[in-house]
C-alpha cells in the first residue's frame, strides 16, 4: 500500500509545470483566442519537445510507453495553465485507442509515430459527447458507430462549427457515413475499447478540473491579498478567508479520488469505471466551487473580460459536461452503490 507517485513521475510533472509557467502565460492564451483555428502550431511543437506527445505511445512506435498515472499529473498542469489545445485527446486517448486496435498494424505505423513527434492531431467522436472537439484541425478522426471503431479522414466528414463561451474550445457537429473501409474494429472489440477511451477521457477531464480549481483558488488568493478595502487586504477578513478555505478543502478531498481512479485504470481494477465517475463528480464539484468563490472574492473585477479568471472559469464550466455530464456519472456510481451485494464498507476501498 503506497498512495504516492514515483519520484520520476513527480519530476516529469515538475518539468512540465516549469515549462508551462513560462510558455503559457494568460496573455498568450488571449492571443491564440484571436486566431481562427484557436490553436498554436508553435505551442504544440514546444509541447512535443517536452516529450508530452510521446508519453502514451509505445516505445516500438517512437514513444515513451507510459500511462494513466503519468497523464493524471500532466493533465492537472494542462488544466492549471488552461492550455488551448486538446493535447490529451490525441496524445493520451487516441494513442491508447490506436495501440489497442486489433492487428491493423499499418494504421498504428502511420499514426503512432506522428503522435509521438507531435505532428498529428486526432479527434475522437463518442456518443456521450454531442460534438467533436478540434475536428477541423484533425488529420484523422476516430469515430464511434454502434460500438465499432472507425478511422475517418478529415475530408470524409462534414463539419459545422458550434461556438462555445469558452474561447479556446473548438466544437464541431460531425456528419459522416460509416463503411467497411472506415471500420478498424468490430463492435465486439470496440465496446471495451470505447469504454476504455471514455474512462480515460473522463479521468483526463477530472485531472484538468483539479488543475483549474487550484488555479482559480490561487487567483482568488492573489487578488484578496492585494485588494484593499477598509484599509486592509480583503483576504484578512474572515468572510473572505472562509470562502477560499472551503475550496482548499474540496480540492484536498477530490485529489485522492482522482488519483485512485487513475491507478484503478492503470491496473485494470474491476471497479475502475465507478472510481472514474466518482473522480469526475468530485473534481467538477471542486472546480465549480472554486469558480464561484474566486469570482466572489474578485468582486466586480471577476465579472470582466479583462480579469484572467474568465479563461479558467469558463473552461471549468465547459468541462463539467465533457465526457459525461453529472447525470451520466452519477448514474454509473448509483448503479454500483445500490446494487445488491456491492461491498461498500470499511476495508472495501481498494477491492
Amino acid at each position: 500500500m503506497d498512495f504516492t507517485f514515483e519520484e520520476q513521475q513527480v519530476a516529469f510533472r515538475d518539468a512540465v509545470r516549469k515549462f508551462l509557467m513560462v510558455e503559457a502565460a494568460p496573455e498568450m492564451l488571449r492571443e491564440i483566442w484571436e486566431t481562427e483555428s484557436g490553436r498554436s502550431r508553435d505551442l504544440r511543437a514546444k509541447l512535443a519537445d517536452q516529450g508530452i506527445t510521446a508519453l502514451s505511445v509505445p516505445e516500438e512506435f517512437g514513444g515513451i510507453g507510459l500511462g494513466d498515472l503519468d497523464w493524471v499529473l500532466i493533465n492537472q498542469e494542462l488544466g492549471y495553465y488552461a492550455i488551448p489545445d486538446s493535447l490529451s485527446d490525441t496524445a493520451y486517448l487516441a494513442a491508447w485507442l490506436l495501440t489497442r486496435l486489433p492487428s491493423d498494424i499499418s494504421l498504428k505505423k502511420a499514426w503512432l509515430p506522428r503522435i509521438a513527434n507531435g505532428t498529428a492531431r486526432i479527434a475522437l467522436g463518442h456518443p456521450v459527447n454531442p460534438f467533436v472537439a478540434d475536428a477541423q484541425l484533425a488529420d484523422l478522426l476516430l469515430l464511434w458507430h454502434n460500438d465499432e471503431v472507425h478511422a475517418v479522414q478529415r475530408d470524409q466528414v462534414k463539419l459545422s462549427f458550434n461556438p462555445s463561451i469558452e474561447m479556446s474550445r473548438r466544437l464541431y457537429k460531425v456528419e459522416w457515413t460509416p463503411s467497411d473501409a472506415t471500420r478498424v474494429a468490430p463492435a465486439r472489440i470496440g465496446r471495451d475499447l470505447w469504454e476504455g477511451v471514455l474512462n480515460r477521457a473522463a479521468l483526463a477531464v477530472s485531472a484538468q478540473q483539479l488543475g483549474l480549481a487550484q488555479r482559480m483558488l490561487d487567483l482568488g488568493i492573489d487578488h484578496s491579498a492585494q485588494r484593499k478595502q477598509f484599509g486592509k487586504p480583503i483576504g484578512s477578513f474572515q468572510a473572505v478567508k472562509h470562502q477560499l478555505a472551503d475550496v482548499a478543502v474540496k480540492i484536498e478531498f477530490a485529489k485522492p479520488v482522482v488519483f485512485r481512479a487513475a491507478q484503478a485504470l492503470a491496473t485494470n481494477r474491476p471497479r475502475a469505471a465507478v472510481h472514474v465517475s466518482h473522480a469526475k463528480l468530485a473534481a467538477c464539484e471542486a472546480a465549480w466551487l472554486s469558480a464561484r468563490r474566486s469570482m466572489q472574492v474578485h468582486g466586480a473585477m471577476g465579472y470582466t473580460w479583462e480579469a484572467d479568471l474568465q479563461m479558467f472559469m469558463k473552461r471549468a464550466w465547459a468541462l463539467d459536461a465533457a465526457w459525461g455530464d453529472r447525470a451520466f456519472h452519477k448514474t454509473r456510481v448509483a448503479k454500483f452503490i445500490f446494487a445488491e451485494g456491492s461491498e461498500l464498507g470499511p476495508g472495501d476501498t481498494f477491492n
Binding site: V257, F259, H278, L344, P346, T349
Partner: protein, 388 residues
C-alpha cells in the same frame, strides 16, 4: 503507487477480524456517558488490552504492537466494521499518548502508558475554560510553583469524560505575569486530588459526557509536568496537530455509517424517493466517506515517506465533521416521522441509533477546534492569506 495490501497487511487484517469476531460484545454496551456504561467500556478497554489491541501503534514495551499508520487504518476499518464499542479512552490513547511519547520522560512513559493501554487510567482533557474556548490562549487557570508542587486554582470546562475519568491532562498558566500563549504549562493530574470539584454538565442527549472542573489550591507534584515549564502551548499544539487531524476520527467509522445509510435507504426506498434529493444525499454520503478514506491513506503514505503534515490536518476536521452531519441528517430525512423517537419507544421499529448519532454530529463542527478556527488556520497557514 501501489493500492493493494501486502500479504503481511492482509494477514494482519485477518488476525484483527478473527479476534474481534470472538470478542466484540454481542449486545451493544450502555453509553459511556452513564456510570454503568463507563464501567462497561473500561472493562472492554481491558479486554482489548488483553489481546494487545488497545493501542496498536504504540511500541511493544508499553502495550502496543508497533504498527505503522497503514496497519492502524486496517485495524480501525475492522474495528468499525465489527461494530465494536466506542473508545472511552480515546483522548488518552489518540491525543495524549503521542504527545507523551514525543515530550515525556522515560519515567513518565512507563508510569502512564501501560495503565492507559489497559484502561486502568481513563483520561479526560482540560483545555477550555469559561473565558477560553476558541481563544485557547486566554487560559487563566493558574498553577503556582510551591517547592516541588504546583498549586492549581481556577476552572476548566467542557472537559470530556471528566465525570468518571481518573486523570486529566491540560494547560495551566504557570507564569502569572504572562499573556496569551506564553507562560503556559502542560500538566497531568489525577482527578481525585483534594480541592477538585467536578460538576457534570448535561449534554443535548440528556447524559453527562462532559463536566466543569473547579480547582481550589490543588497540589500537583512537579514531576507530573510534561516538557518544560512555559512550553505548554507548543506541546498542546502537537497534541492538536496531525494526531487530531489523522487519528481522532479514522475513516472506518464514517465508512461504516455510510454503508448503514445506504442499507437504510434501500429498506425505505419507496418512501425516501418521494423526495428525490434524498437519493443524491445518500450518494454524496458514500462518496464522501470513500474520499475521506482515500485522503487518509494518501496522508499515511506520505508520512511513511517522511512528509510532515501541517495545516492540511485542518481540512480533515472540516471534512469529517460536515460529512457526519450530512449522513445523519440524511438518515433522519429517510426515517421521517419516526426519526424523533427514542430507541426504546414502543413503535421505534428499525430506527436504530441514528438519532443519537445525529445529536452527536451536531457537536462535530464545534469540538477539537471549531470549523471556523480550522478555516482560519487553512486560510492563513495553507493559503498564505494575511492575518486578521
Amino acid at each position: 503507487m501501489r493500492l493493494e495490501y501486502t500479504d503481511r497487511q492482509q494477514r494482519f487484517r485477518q488476525e484483527v477480524r478473527d479476534w474481534l469476531e470472538q470478542h466484540v460484545p454481542k449486545q451493544p454496551l450502555r453509553s459511556f456517558d452513564t456510570e454503568e456504561g463507563f464501567a462497561d467500556h473500561r472493562a472492554w478497554e481491558g479486554k482489548l488490552a488483553g489481546g494487545r489491541w488497545s493501542a496498536v501503534t504504540w511500541p511493544k514495551e508499553v502495550g502496543g504492537r508497533g504498527c505503522d499508520l497503514i496497519e492502524w487504518l486496517i485495524f480501525e476499518e475492522e474495528y468499525w466494521r465489527a461494530g465494536a464499542p466506542l473508545r472511552v479512552n480515546q483522548n488518552g490513547i489518540f491525543l495524549l499518548a503521542p504527545t507523551l511519547m514525543e515530550y515525556g520522560t522515560e519515567e513518565q512513559k512507563q508510569r502512564f502508558l501501560p495503565r492507559m493501554a489497559t484502561g486502568e487510567d481513563i483520561w479526560a482533557q482540560g483545555w477550555s475554560e469559561p473565558g477560553a474556548g476558541s481563544d485557547m490562549a486566554a487560559i487563566r487557570c493558574k498553577a503556582v510553583r510551591d517547592g516541588d508542587h504546583y498549586v492549581i486554582s481556577g476552572q476548566k470546562t467542557w472537559s470530556t469524560r471528566a465525570v468518571w475519568a481518573d486523570w486529566l491532562f491540560g494547560l495551566f498558566r504557570t507564569d502569572p505575569e504572562s499573556v496569551r500563549h506564553h507562560g503556559l504549562t502542560f500538566i497531568l493530574l489525577p482527578l481525585n486530588l483534594p480541592g477538585i470539584t467536578i460538576r457534570p454538565v448535561q449534554q443535548l442527549n440528556g447524559q453527562t459526557g462532559f463536566a466543569e472542573i473547579f480547582f481550589d489550591e490543588v497540589r500537583v507534584p512537579v514531576h507530573n509536568r510534561l516538557a518544560d515549564e512555559g512550553a505548554g502551548w507548543q506541546v498542546a499544539m502537537a497534541t492538536a496537530g496531525f494526531e487530531r487531524g489523522l487519528m481522532l476520527r479514522s475513516p472506518g467509522r464514517f465508512q461504516q455509517t455510510a454503508k448503514s445509510l445506504v442499507e437504510l435507504y434501500l429498506r425505505h426506498q419507496a418512501h425516501a424517493d418521494a423526495d428525490p434529493s434524498v437519493r443524491d444525499a445518500v450518494m454524496q454520503s458514500w462518496m464522501g466517506a470513500e474520499a475521506y478514506a482515500l485522503a487518509t491513506y494518501r496522508t499515511a503514505s506520505r508520512m511513511a515517506k517522511g512528509a510532515q503534515i501541517g495545516a492540511e490536518a485542518s481540512t480533515n476536521k472540516i471534512f469529517w465533521s460536515e460529512l457526519d452531519l450530512l449522513m445523519h441528517e440524511t438518515a433522519m430525512r429517510i426515517l421521517g416521522a419516526r426519526a424523533e423517537l427514542m430507541p426504546h419507544a414502543p413503535d421505534a421499529g428499525d430506527i436504530g441509533n441514528w438519532l443519537d448519532g445525529f445529536l452527536f454530529a451536531q457537536a462535530g463542527p464545534i469540538y477539537a477546534g471549531t470549523n471556523e478556527i480550522q478555516r482560519n488556520i487553512i486560510a492563513e497557514r495553507m493559503l498564505g492569506l494575511p492575518r486578521s
